[in-house]
Subunit: 125 residues, 2 copies
């Protein structure tokens, strides 16, 4: 039913946690999925000199596919520039995790959350 | 955002696991939520002489509200008669967990699953 990568990230989610929202080097994305009512918080920590994302974390009460999607995205963004991660598409995440069509909105949460986190960081500066 | 009971059951879900589906004393309910695509498996173990549910367990990749709903239901059904648990309504579960309206479909999964488990047990006999 679920791809082994979903099961893996569900059982051992990477980078679960929170950064201090008020830290000027932190960008916070808080987004919701209208389809199911789930909410996701994803945060990035930026090296201000280089604009590199040095750390990322998430929290969600969403489903296994949402957990896996955000877990994967927090791994993908580390070491990348902010502009780079804005090109991450939910379809890429869904493909990586072999999500069925009914679960696309879960990967959309992760795409929306990383975009919102970058936007929040930029709004602070 | 989430009631403390949801957080409690999400962090320490009760009765996660599986019984042997082919055991004649076991009833298995496997149901899906069209709203979000999540699936839940809930199983009961029956004392054949008295018709009492002596044990229950569940598994799901659903969201925090679905996990909490099924965790609560597995606690509620233990020690009850099969006919009794057929009267469990998702609105009771939702009220107990203070689920918001957008999360009612998650508690519906638990109601559907316990009904399906009883039906499966009955079909075996
Ligand atoms: S069903 Fe809500 S995030 Fe997946």
């Amino acid at each position: 039913l679920y791809h082994e990568r979903v099961v893996d990230h569900y059982n051992n989610p990477r980078n679960v946690g929170s950064f201090d929202k008020s830290d000027p080097t932190v960008g916070t994305g808080l987004v919701g999925a209208p389809a199911c009512g789930d909410v996701m918080k994803l945060q990035i920590k930026i090296d201000e000199e280089s604009g590199t994302i040095v750390d990322a974390c998430f929290k969600t009460f969403g489903c296994g596919s949402a957990i896996a999607s955000s877990s994967v995205v927090t791994e993908w963004v580390k070491g990348k520039q902010m502009e780079e991660v804005l090109t991450i598409k939910n379809t890429e995440i869904a493909k990586h995790l072999s999500l069925p069509p009914v679960k696309l909105h879960c990967s959309m949460l992760a795409e929306d959350a990383i975009k919102a986190a970058v936007k929040d960081y930029e709004a602070k500066h």
